[in-house]
């Protein structure tokens, strides 16, 4: 038996040629084909579900944004998203990676719970988990219906709009589980805030 690990020039040559064919077909033709087809069947989604305000790109309905002032303080006229490990930097996705017993994470959660309760004028016990935890992507565009609920009165007051109208708007941008059972109920904060701005401008 020949030594099984000794590579011959013939085999390496075949390997190089096979790899080059694969690179052209799988690495160039295939992604270009999918790009072409995607631009045909769903151009908006393939380009990132961008949303516009006055013809200007204002972000993506799939990518969460920070709704804060220049100093990082939350703006009361907007529904607030979840905490983000990356500060909603679209070029740096990721989570905090802090463990379940991390003292640092525990301190952060206590602090966030107090801040969210005070900002919205609610009982700290009514602040849901997603409001005090950072998402996996750092770009989560959604909050739970519970977190949206406790923000309604504060946003309504800041915008001088009736809370009932606000609640109707939240309901419009809320989704249940996909097909009724996949995932979890969620409210899209980016779309909701966009609609809020449109509503305020129309008044």
């Amino acid at each position: 038996m020949s030594a099984p690990l000794l590579l011959s020039g013939r085999q390496l040559g075949a390997a190089v040629r096979a790899l080059l064919i694969a690179t052209v077909v799988l690495g160039v033709a295939y992604p270009l084909l999918i790009t072409g087809a995607a631009q045909l069947i769903a151009p908006g989604r393939a380009d990132g579900s961008l949303v516009e305000v006055d013809g200007q790109v204002a972000g993506s309905s799939l990518i969460g944004q920070a709704f804060t002032d220049a100093d990082g303080a939350p703006l009361p006229q907007y529904f607030q998203p979840r905490p983000s490990a990356s500060g909603y930097d679209g070029a740096a996705s990721g989570g905090s990676n802090l463990g379940p017993n991390s003292a640092e994470l525990a301190d952060l959660i206590v602090q966030r719970r107090a801040e969210v309760a005070q900002f919205n004028g609610v009982d700290p016990a009514d602040v849901p988990a997603d409001a005090v935890t950072a998402s996996a992507s750092g770009l989560d565009p959604h909050i739970s219906p519970e977190y949206a609920e406790i923000q309604i009165d504060r946003v309504a007051a800041a915008r001088d709009l009736p809370a009932s109208e606000m609640a109707a708007l939240v309901a419009e941008y809320s989704s249940g589980r996909d097909a009724g059972f996949i995932g979890a109920p969620h409210v899209n904060v980016v779309e909701l805030n966009l609609a809020l701005d449109r509503l305020s401008r129309a008044r």
Binding site: L6, L7, R10, L12, G13, A14, A15, R17, A18, Y30, P31, I34, T35, A37, A38, A42, R45, A46, D47, G48, S49, L50, Q56, V57, A58, G59, S60, L62, I63, G64, Q65, T68, L75, R82, G90, A91, A92, S93, G95, N97, L98, G99, P100, N101, A103, A106, I109, P128, A129, T133, S135, A136, S137, D140, H142, R177, D178, I182, G183, A184
Partner: protein, 552 residues
């Protein structure tokens, strides 16, 4: 509907979908790898590559073809990363550092897809498409080819031929991975996964700040990343990124894709050895272990153990709202039971026992159902061990599928099952002993040990997921994990092809009253027990110091 009911329904629908497709897909693969007919386009490929497609190879030649192809793959991928700044579609990215480029090249060629780098800030589109995604296809095809060669070892008698690697490789791409990827990619585009060649868009946000919205050919890469159990994300946050996992149903579809081929291969095995019941038995072991693990992770996350988790009220740190806990737990279990390693939530922030179960999934050796190809051949080696154990109990020469398992066969199988545990435990021990290993840990105490243990379990078993708090882009981790990936991929392939070569050369012993049947529930139970006992005895001390110490 309650969250728990929705979680169960999610799992039930997934199981039903996999049950429906595994038979036609398994039969299709058996046909692909046994028919003598080549497609015209395949003939063209074989001619260009310069191989005689109708000549089969002995196991050493098959192995050398695998190794030559992988070596060339690592070199090209390394080179692409090092010169990307001079290539088109580089989006202004600089050359990748040598240590990181080596680690990433090895990682994608070995089907691991461990990522020490951050996708959106490191790799230009050309490297992603023509480098990383190409290896997503090829590393998966290599795994399938080796599995098919191993099945032939069991199926054939008195021959020294195991098939032709170049033919198996080509067919795995042309008749399986490429067509399924096209469908998968287009479904994901409809779900909102991006697919463009743009470098990203500058947006002025509602609050008046600026935000970068990234672009990229993501769907085309996402499809093969799941289908080939690769797992390397286009973006740093992997399938948790809204552009990779925009909706819950897309995420569930990804779980379906990553389980699809590994769970259909037992059917292929049954067909090719001429006894479908043997395939059912292997599938039964895989499905039983996988279901138990999914149940455990889901339960541990719902219990929300841990001081910080309790303060939050639910285990939502590192999870996305649209996915929620059950789908995140399902994804985490599925990605580590296979060799995928893509994530839709951050495993480092899982509860101690939830994260520990995910870690134990990889320690099982990724056989339930494991990576494409590698899961099946890993499980077949464990079947050999199980039959041997049964043989010892009753004092008979062990046989599996009419093949006698003598001293040489058992030596190869034993070395196989020792390879990854040695890599994982020695690697993690070295990391904890060196300052360079300890300095990279984000969390402290038992959870810190879990981070290092997870990294080596992930690399040694070619998974690629991470307790991502670990800062792995350092000279120590790039080198050590790179070595663990290479040895963890190719040493088992050497051993299992050698085993297949010996088995193919044998005749087939007749079934007698004394033959231990390997298609009955008794064997399914025995094999499951062997998997758990081998893992338990090997890893229990390390698990006690990490996740168990933290969670109990």
């Amino acid at each position: 509907m309650s969250a728990a009911a929705a979680g169960w329904l999610q799992f039930g629908v997934l199981v039903a979908a996999l049950a429906v497709v595994h038979r036609p897909l398994g039969d299709h693969m058996a046909q692909v790898f046994t028919t003598p007919r080549h497609w015209r386009v395949e003939r063209l490929v074989h001619r260009t590559v310069g191989v005689d497609a109708d000549t089969e190879q002995r196991w050493p030649t098959y192995l050398r073809s695998v190794l030559a192809f992988s070596l060339v793959g690592v070199l090209l991928l390394y080179a692409l990363q090092r010169v990307q700044q001079w290539l088109p579609l580089d989006n202004g990215r600089a050359a990748v550092e040598p240590g990181s480029a080596w680690n990433t090249a090895v990682s994608f060629v070995t089907n691991t897809n461990w990522q020490g780098y951050s996708g959106e800030s490191t790799m230009g589109h050309l490297v992603q498409m023509a480098g990383l995604a190409v290896q997503n296809f090829l590393s998966a095809a290599v795994g399938i080819a080796v599995a098919i060669a191993v099945i032939r070892g069991f199926a054939r008698t008195k021959t020294d031929r195991l098939g032709n690697f170049w033919v198996d490789l080509t067919r795995a791409v042309t008749r399986l991975l490429l067509p399924l990827s096209v469908v998968g990619a287009l479904v994901m585009v409809l779900g909102g996964v991006v697919q463009n060649l743009g470098s990203g868009t500058g947006a002025s946000t509602l609050a008046g700040a600026t935000q970068f919205v990234p672009g990229g050919p993501v769907a085309s890469q996402e499809a093969i990343k799941e289908l080939g159990t690769n797992g390397g994300g286009f973006y740093n946050a992997n399938a948790a990124h809204p552009f990779e996992g925009p909706t819950a149903w897309v995420s569930l579809f990804q779980v379906f894709l990553l389980l699809l081929i590994p769970l259909a291969l037992p059917r292929t095995f049954g067909r090719m050895v001429g006894d479908r019941r043997q395939g059912w038995a292997i599938l039964g072991v895989m499905a039983g272990l996988a279901s138990a693990s999914i149940g455990l992770v889901t339960w541990f996350e719902a219990r929300a153990g841990g001081t910080a988790t309790q303060l939050a009220g639910a285990a939502m740190e590192g999870k996305e709202v649209r996915f929620g806990e059950p789908l995140s737990a399902l994804y985490a279990a599925a990605t580590t039971l296979t060799s995928t390693g893509s994530v839709n939530s951050m495993h480092d922030s899982y509860t101690a026992l939830g994260g520990g179960t995910v870690l134990a999934n990889m320690m099982l050796g990724e056989v339930a159902p494991g990576g494409v190809g590698s899961g099946l051949y890993g499980m077949l080696v464990l079947a050999v061990v199980a039959v041997f154990v049964a043989g010892l109990m009753v004092g008979r020469t062990p046989e599996y599928l009419g093949k006698r398992l003598g001293r040489r066969e058992m030596t190869l199988a034993s070395l196989y099952i020792l390879t990854t545990p040695a890599l994982v435990l020695i690697g993690a021990a070295v990391a904890m002993a060196l300052p360079a290993g300890r300095d990279s840990l984000l969390n402290t105490g038992p959870h810190g040990l879990s981070e290092a243990l997870y990294a080596f379990a992930s690399a040694g078993n070619n998974n690629g997921s991470a307790f991502a708090g670990l800062s792995a882009n350092t000279p120590f981790y790039n080198t050590a994990l790179g070595l663990a990936m290479v040895i963890g991929r190719y040493l088992p392939i050497v051993l299992v092809l050698a085993l297949a070569g010996r088995l193919a050369a044998q005749g087939r012993t007749a079934v007698t009253a004394g033959t231990f049947p390997t298609h009955r529930p008794l064997f399914v139970g025995l094999l499951s027990a062997v998997v758990l006992v081998v893992v338990g005895l090997t890893y229990f001390p390390a698990l006690s110091l990490g996740p168990l110490a933290e969670g109990l």
